[in-house]
C-alpha cells in the first residue's frame, strides 16, 4: 500500500493515540505512525480494533470490546465541513439479531479539543471496577470517580464536569492550565462526550451526546460505555494542529467558497438549492422554527464548518438540534396542532438530555402510534400502557415516552432494549416487519431512505452493518429531481448530464449507468459499482478523513464549472494542504476499499454470510404507495429506459427477491469476495496488504474461496 502521508505525520496529526485500559486503569500511548497507512478516523479505528480486540465474536457489552474514538488529520483545521467530526467504533449492541462491529460519528468541537490536547484518538478497553469518567487535559489523563455522575442526564453531566475541569484556574474568561506563562490557556470549556442516566439499563437505545445537538446514536455506544462503567470522556486542550501548508489551505478554502452560496450571496436569485455543499448556511432553522413559534435563532456550526446546519435559539429550547433530534417528533406535533409548537423542541430536549438514540426513538414512536390506533396498545389493551396516548403529539407525551425508556417502566421496559428487541418481546417482530407497520429494513434497524426505490442506500446498509445515513448520491438522484418535480421546475442538471457528472466523479468505476434507478438498473452491475464506490468513498473520505455528510460528497453544484462539484478535486486538496502529502483521490478510494474489506472480515468472524443478508419481508411484498404503512412518495429518480435518460417516479416499487440475490453475486464478484458466502478471499485481502486478516479468517473457517 502507498504510504501517502510520506513521513509527514507531524502535519495534521498529533502523533499519538491514547489507550486506556479501564480494567487495570493503565494509560498508555500508541504512536499514530503505526496506523499511518489507514489515514485516520474509521480506518485507524478498524485497524486498532482488529489488533486489540482479541475475540471479535463477543457481545458489545463484553469487557473485551474495544471502542475507538478517532479524529482525522483535518480535525481542528480550517478545512470546511470536516474539522468538527469524531468517529466512534466498536462492537455495537443495537442491531438485531447480531450486534455488528459498527460505527457512528458526531460533530461539534470534541475532535478539535482532542487534537488541541495532543491526541489523534482514544482507545477504550476493558471494564472499570468502579464507575469512572475520563478526564483529559492536554497530556494529563486521569480516570475519575463517576459515582455522583452516574444517574445524571447528559446536560447535568456536562455541567458537573465543566465545574470540575480546572475551575479553580479560571481568570477573566481565560482558563490557565498552570502558573507558568507557557502552561497553556484557553477560553474553551472542556468538550465532553457523555451517556445519559444509568445508560446500561437502556443500553441498545443509548447514545453518546456532546454539547447540545451532537450525538453518536447508532450502535448503542452509550450502552457500551455504560457496560464499561464509563460515564463520560472530557477533553480540554491548549495546543493546535500543525498545518503543512497554511497558504494552500487558505487558498483551498477560498476556492471552495466559490462552490457555496456564501460565495454568491450577492445574487441569491442564482441559488437553486438542495445540494450538498452549496446550500444556504443558517437559513433553515429560521424557516422551520421561527415562523411558527416566534422564536429567533442564529446559525450554529461545528468547528470550521460553513454549513451552520444548527441554530441557537433565543429561548434555549431545542437548542442546536438538527436532523432527527428535531424531526423525531415534529410530524406528530404538526398533526396534533396544525403547526410546529413548543412540543417539538421540548421533545428534542427530552431526548437529548436522556441520551436516547433519536432515530430509533422516531421509529418506535411511529410504530407505537400505529399499535395504539389499531387498539393493540394502550390502557387495558394487549400491550398495556398508561402513557397519555390521548395527548399524542404533545410535549407531555414525548417526555413521558422518553422517561419510560430511561426508567424501564411501562412500554419503556421493552423499548429500552431496542425497537426490534421490543417487537420480539411483544411477539410482533415477524408480523409487523412483514406488514411493514414496523419498517426495520435490515438488521432490525430503521432506515432513512428506502431500499425499494433508492437502492444504493438499501444495498449499502444490507451489505454493511447499519443504515448508512450517507446522502452523497441522495441529494442529486432523489431530492433535487423530486423537489423540482413537485414545484414544476426543470432541473438545472438533466438526467443525462447527471449521469455524465457521476461517471466523471466516481473513479475508479466511471460508469454513466451507475445512477440508473430503472427497474432493470437497480439490479445491474453498474449498481454494484455504485454501491462499491459509495462504500469505499465513505469508508475513507467521510468516515476516516471525516468530511461531513451535510456538505460532502459534492458531486453536483450549481456554482461549479458545468455544474460539477468539488468531489474528486476538493477532498485531497484540503488533505494535502494539511499533511503536506500528495495523495490522489484514487489512493483515498483504494484505502477506503481496504478499510471496507477489513470491516467485512470482522463481520464474517461475527457470523455474517450472504444467506442472512436479506431485507425485511415487506421490502419484497409491499410497495410504498399512499395507503400503505411504509408510505414513501413521491420518489423521482434518474432512469435510463428505451435508450434515453429521464427523471421518473419509482415510488411503489417492490424488490424482486431473486434479482436481489443475483445483484449480490455481481457485487461480491466486483469486490473479489466469495460469491457463495460473501466472505473476502485471500487473493483480495493479500492485494490489500491484509494477509494477516486472511490468516485469521482461514483459522476461523471464514475465508472466502477464490474463484
Amino acid at each position: 500500500m502507498t504510504t501517502f502521508m510520506e513521513d509527514k505525520m507531524a502535519n495534521g496529526y498529533s502523533g499519538k493515540i491514547l489507550k486506556v485500559d479501564l480494567t487495570s486503569g493503565k494509560i498508555e500511548t500508541i504512536p499514530t505512525s503505526k496506523y499511518e497507512s489507514w489515514g485516520g478516523g474509521h480506518g485507524m479505528g478498524s485497524a486498532i480494533f482488529w489488533d486489540l480486540c482479541t475475540d471479535k465474536t463477543i457481545k458489545g457489552t463484553d469487557p473485551g470490546n474495544v471502542v475507538t474514538i478517532m479524529t482525522s488529520p483535518l480535525s481542528g483545521t480550517l478545512a470546511p465541513s470536516v474539522a468538527g467530526r469524531t468517529e466512534v467504533q466498536g462492537i455495537g449492541i443495537q442491531a438485531y439479531p447480531i450486534g455488528w462491529f459498527t460505527r457512528s460519528n458526531f460533530g461539534g468541537r470534541f475532535s478539535t479539543q482532542l487534537k488541541a490536547a495532543g491526541w489523534d484518538g482514544i482507545v477504550v478497553m476493558g471494564k472499570s471496577p468502579k464507575k469512572v469518567w475520563l478526564n483529559i487535559v492536554n497530556g494529563d489523563v486521569k480516570l475519575q470517580d463517576a459515582t455522583d455522575l452516574w444517574g445524571l442526564n447528559t446536560v447535568e453531566t456536562q455541567e458537573e464536569i465543566w465545574a470540575t475541569v480546572p475551575d479553580s484556574m479560571k481568570e477573566s474568561g481565560w482558563l490557565n492550565l498552570g502558573e507558568s506563562r507557557d502552561a497553556g490557556r484557553t477560553t474553551q470549556r472542556a468538550a465532553v462526550l457523555t451517556t445519559g442516566p444509568s445508560a446500561e439499563k437502556f443500553a441498545p437505545m443509548a447514545a453518546l451526546v456532546h454539547d447540545a445537538g451532537n450525538g453518536a446514536g447508532q450502535g448503542g455506544f452509550g450502552g457500551v460505555f455504560a457496560s464499561k462503567n464509563l460515564k463520560a470522556v472530557s477533553v480540554l486542550g491548549t495546543g493546535g494542529v500543525q498545518v503543512a501548508n497554511p497558504d494552500a489551505l487558505m487558498k483551498a478554502r477560498l476556492w471552495a467558497k466559490e462552490y457555496s452560496f456564501a460565495g454568491h450571496s450577492d445574487s441569491p436569485d442564482k441559488y437553486v438549492g438542495l445540494i450538498a455543499f452549496g446550500s444556504t448556511p443558517g437559513q433553515a432553522l429560521s424557516t422551520t422554527v421561527d415562523v411558527a413559534m416566534g422564536t429567533k435563532s442564529r446559525p450554529q456550526a461545528c468547528v470550521g464548518c460553513i454549513r451552520s446546519c444548527r441554530g441557537r435559539t433565543d429561548n434555549g429550547k431545542g437548542n442546536e438540534s438538527s436532523c432527527v433530534d428535531f424531526f423525531w417528533y415534529d410530524s406528530h406535533d404538526v398533526k396534533a396542532h396544525g403547526q410546529i409548537t413548543e412540543a417539538t423542541p421540548r421533545a428534542a430536549d427530552a431526548m437529548q438530555a436522556a441520551g436516547v438514540n433519536a432515530f430509533a426513538l422516531e421509529a418506535a414512536t411511529l410504530w407505537i402510534e400505529a399499535l395504539f390506533n389499531q387498539g393493540i396498545m394502550g390502557a387495558g389493551k394487549k400491550i398495556d400502557s398508561s402513557l397519555p396516548f390521548d395527548r399524542f403529539g404533545s410535549g407531555e407525551f414525548a417526555e413521558a415516552l422518553v422517561n419510560s425508556i430511561i426508567t424501564q417502566t411501562d412500554i419503556g421496559k421493552e423499548l429500552s432494549q431496542g425497537v426490534a428487541q421490543a417487537a420480539q418481546a411483544w411477539g410482533r417482530l415477524e408480523m409487523d416487519t412483514t406488514s411493514g407497520i414496523l419498517p426495520l429494513q435490515e438488521w432490525g434497524l430503521p432506515h432513512h431512505y428506502d431500499a425499494r426505490t433508492e437502492v444504493e442506500w438499501g444495498y449499502g446498509s444490507l451489505i454493511g452493518e447499519r443504515d448508512i445515513n450517507e446522502h452523497d448520491f441522495n441529494w442529486s438522484v432523489y431530492w433535487t429531481p423530486t423537489i423540482n418535480g413537485l414545484f414544476g421546475v426543470t432541473p438545472v442538471v438533466s438526467a443525462k448530464r447527471l449521469s455524465e457528472i457521476f461517471a466523471k466523479k466516481t473513479s475508479p468505476y466511471n460508469d454513466p449507468m451507475m445512477i440508473n434507478y430503472s427497474d432493470e438498473g437497480i439490479y445491474s452491475e453498474a449498481m454494484a459499482k455504485t454501491v462499491a464506490f459509495h462504500r469505499h468513498y465513505t469508508r475513507f473520505w467521510k468516515q476516516s478523513m471525516l468530511y461531513c455528510d451535510w456538505a460532502w460528497a459534492d458531486f453536483v453544484n450549481p456554482y461549479g464549472p458545468d455544474n460539477e462539484g468539488m468531489t474528486g478535486i476538493g477532498e485531497q486538496k484540503f488533505l494535502n494542504a494539511v499533511t503536506g502529502g500528495n495523495m490522489t483521490f484514487e489512493q483515498g478510494m483504494e484505502t477506503g476499499r481496504k478499510i471496507w474489506n477489513l470491516d467485512r472480515a470482522v463481520w464474517a468472524l461475527q457470523g455474517r454470510h450472504r444467506d442472512i443478508e436479506q431485507f425485511t419481508e415487506y421490502s419484497y411484498t409491499t410497495g410504498a404507495h399512499p395507503g400503505t404503512t411504509t408510505y414513501e412518495a413521491p420518489y423521482v429518480m434518474p432512469v435510463f429506459e428505451n435508450n434515453e435518460w429521464s427523471f421518473k417516479s419509482v415510488a411503489g416499487r417492490v424488490l424482486d427477491r431473486q434479482k436481489v440475490e443475483d445483484w449480490k453475486t455481481l457485487f461480491f464478484k466486483l469486490e473479489g469476495w466469495d460469491v457463495k458466502s460473501g466472505w473476502p478471499t485471500r487473493e483480495t485481502l493479500a492485494k490489500l496488504d491484509l494477509s494477516n486478516v486472511a490468516d485469521a479468517l482461514e483459522k476461523a473457517g471464514k475465508l472466502g474461496a477464490s474463484a
Binding site: T280, S331, V334, N373, Y449, H471, P634
Partner: protein
C-alpha cells in the same frame, strides 16, 4: 376565504360526515419530506386536519431550506379517493380527482386543493350552524 364554489349542495348528514374525525384505520396517509430525515409518514384524521396540513410552499424557498427543506405532502389522487371513500363526499372527491388528473406539479395544485377543501369545510360548517367567530 376562497371564491371557489362547489355545485353540489350539502345536507346535514353529509356535512356531519365531512367534518367528522375518522377512525384510526380510516386515516389519510400523508408525509413530511425532509432531506435530513427522509419521508416521515403522517396520519390525518379529518378533512380539517388535511387542509391545515397542506401548506402552500414556495419552490425557491424550499430549495433554499437546504438540508432543512420541508414539504408537507399528500398525494392528490389519494386525497380524492379518501374524500370519496371515507368521508363519502363524492362531489368534492370528483373535483379533487379532476385536479389530480391534470398531473400538474404538486406545488401548483396545493393552493387549489386547499381552497377547494377549505370552501367545502366552510359550507359544511354553515350547514351545521357553526358560526365563524373569527369572521364576525
Amino acid at each position: 376565504m376562497s371564491e371557489t364554489i362547489l355545485v353540489a349542495p350539502l345536507d346535514a348528514e353529509q356535512a356531519m360526515k365531512i367534518l367528522r374525525h375518522v377512525e384510526p384505520t380510516e386515516a389519510l396517509e400523508a408525509g413530511i419530506l425532509t432531506p435530513m430525515a427522509g419521508t416521515r409518514p403522517v396520519r390525518l384524521f379529518s378533512l380539517e386536519e388535511a387542509e391545515r396540513f397542506l401548506i402552500i410552499h414556495d419552490g425557491s424557498a424550499i430549495a433554499q431550506g437546504g438540508a432543512w427543506a420541508k414539504v408537507n405532502y399528500v398525494d392528490p389522487a389519494h386525497l380524492a379517493t379518501w374524500v370519496g371513500d371515507v368521508l363519502g363526499d363524492r362531489a368534492l372527491a370528483d373535483e379533487l380527482a379532476t385536479l389530480a388528473a391534470t398531473r400538474e406539479p404538486f406545488g401548483f395544485l396545493v393552493p387549489r386543493i386547499k381552497s377547494l377543501v377549505a370552501t367545502r369545510i366552510e359550507e359544511a360548517n354553515k350547514v351545521m350552524g357553526v358560526v365563524d367567530l373569527a369572521a364576525k
